[in-house]
Symmetry: C2
Subunit: 189 residues, 2 copies
């Protein structure tokens, strides 16, 4: 297959905007797969900041990073992404080149703990401010769980109102697969 | 900017599926820009078939191909794409690796002559049959002209019903730009 899955596509877009030695945020570390991808992408000279409200996710991610020898490149915060401006060091404001969101619930975790439209959009508002020019935010949007469709709609509506002179916004959907995650990509000009 | 425009993105997907020496169809040659792109992509060993109902479009495309020295690689038919199965040689059935549609009206032509949902979908149905495994169809969908939104909706609805085991279908929209064309990509498995 040539057309990538949503998750492959998110990484592919981020790989264009995030250089070695760069600065990235994983807004929902989950089991740490994207966190490790970001750490590999920026390399030893770069830095990744990771957020998750679930201790289980933070621990699973920390373990994955240690196993890959990448723990020194990542700072993990057991905290919601909508508070990232309190946690991120001031010197990375306007310098973040890649930021990934994977919405919904923690795979293999408690499916009742899900991201919420209000805090997701708050985090995105902060994210667009902290993003570097040329930086990208990717969001994988899931609709298969209760509340998922509402969250996806809210995020897409919010992104549709971003000023086109400052942001380019692409939404990729696999339209013939019900509940396949869709991908929203926000690029700061 | 990293995120491509719809027209760049269409070419980029087609470039993955259409090899040198390959077989392609431009279902709406218009002013011939994509026809020339397809001819360059397949090279002198390949072949491109082009369709348009407007004589003006056929002539403009033929001129562009001659100027580029690519006229021998392209066969142009002054005929609607929904009749392509009557015009294409039987030996390319199931062999087409790239097929491009640019819907709406001819740029700089008569804006009242527009592609129509019924014939567009008929052409797509034929296209999916004539496509090679691994081949791709791209469609640029415009909503800024009367009838455009209805046509885009009809095409996306039709593509959403394609069986996922046989086709992967991606729809890319620039959601914060009103009336920016969107891109539908159909890949045959």
């Amino acid at each position: 297959m040539i057309l990538p899955s949503t998750l492959q596509s998110a990484r592919s877009w981020i790989s264009y905007s995030l250089p070695r030695g760069g600065t990235a945020v994983d807004a929902t570390v989950g089991n740490g797969y994207d966190t490790l991808f970001l750490a590999e992408q920026v390399g030893p000279e770069g830095v990744v900041f990771g957020f998750d409200i679930q201790q289980e996710a933070i621990e699973s991610t920390a373990r994955r990073l240690r196993e890959a020898g990448r723990q020194n490149q990542v700072r993990l915060f057991p905290c919601s992404h909508h508070r990232m401006d309190e946690k991120l060091p001031a010197e990375v404001k306007g310098k973040i080149q890649g930021m990934m969101f994977n919405l919904g619930y923690l795979p293999h975790g408690n499916p009742e703990i899900i991201t919420q439209p209000q805090t997701t959009i708050e985090a995105l508002q902060i994210g667009t401010v902290w993003l570097a020019p040329g930086g990208m935010i990717t969001l994988a949007l899931y609709t298969g769980h209760p509340g998922g469709q509402e969250e996806a709609d809210a995020v897409v509506n919010w992104a549709s109102a971003l000023p086109p002179k400052q942001f380019q916004v692409m939404w990729q959907q696999m339209v013939n697969r019900r509940h396949a995650p869709s991908l929203l990509v926000i690029e700061k000009r």
